[in-house]
Amino acid sequence: MYDVIIIGGGPAGLTAGLYAARGGLKTLICEEKVFGGQIVMSYEVDNYPGFPKGISGMDLMDNFIKQAEKFGVEMNYDGVKSIEDEGKTKIVTLSNGTKLTTKTVIIAAGASPNKLNCPGEKKFTGKGVSYCATCDGAFFKGKKVAVVGGGDSAIEEALYLANLASKVYIIHRRDQLRAVKILQDRAFSNKKIEFIFNHVVKEIQGDKFVNGILIENVQTKELTRLEVDGVFIYVGITPNTKFVEDLIKLDENGYIIVNDKMETNIPGIYAAGDIRVTPLRQVLTAAADGAIAASCAQIYIETQINT
């Protein structure tokens, strides 16, 4: 039996693992896809304290992983299908059907990038449609690309792409960006970046690969075709809570509700990182959540022994 099973191997899960294992708990992290989580796609993280020169998301997460491994955290590449609450123990069922027993669970499964859900998006994914500028930007060197979105991610990735592409269009459905001012200023002063406000992407077009997009003015409904070779989509994230929606209390947007101890509505089950209701989603806050969740789980386990 495990003391802690952590679902998700991003910064929240890895930090929770590190703290739990260092505290002497038998700990397992189940990560379905990519250890390191969403941040591994970021070319540069310049606001994680302790790194005044900035660091790539990948390198930062490499360090998180090494540190967790150092304290003896077990890690596997298994998705989790469900959690059952048996009171003093919990049953975690992996996607391959294996059932594991544990005293506590920390849900740190993060969030996934939203899709546009427009015609052509699925067809051309990997053939011009991308959700990761650092992964795919190099294939668009000297070409024209569109970035869809108006938040920090969209602007950051547009700035990254501007170093490679010949032109970057930023397409946003409103007339104001949500991104922080410093990013906005850098984008506005970049000669390769052109802003197209008040527009949405109606269709992504091409034959074997993307060769253009159809955009619509949200007010006038006028359609324009833009010739681009790539479309990078950054229109928000959705929490990965479908697998626990019947067990754990969520808010109206699907995020897990926790108190300041990262406790969910079920004793012994915690949540940490992007997946929980929080005013700020950063590597830093995810790591902090993970540490709190692991520490509180440890105290919970110790009180269980004494009752």
């Binding site: 390191g36 990997g126 990761c132 650092t134 190099a138 294939f139």
Partner: protein, 106 residues
Amino acid sequence: MAEVHLTQSNWEEEVLNSDIPVLVDFWAPWCGPCRMVAPVVSEIAEEYKGKLKVGKLNTDEEPEIAVRYGIMSIPTLMIFKNGEVVDQIIGAVPKEYLVEKLQQVL
């Protein structure tokens, strides 16, 4: 390491003329998800040794091969059988999904 380092010069011999199916991992050093998915690919290489050959193609070092197979996004995993592409998986996917795809071919 059970994976074969693929280049333009050994592509024909290792991939096209292979007796057993080949899983090719198209990656690049600056691609975060590629690097993070590498351990899963390594595990697969070990587990299916003898039944499946696993090769890695660095798209930075071997751009001609990447262009030849229309690679515009990484990580991309391609499954080759008798020199032909029989399946491809774009983006980081769960190990299980990859195993399912391989079972269909092996």
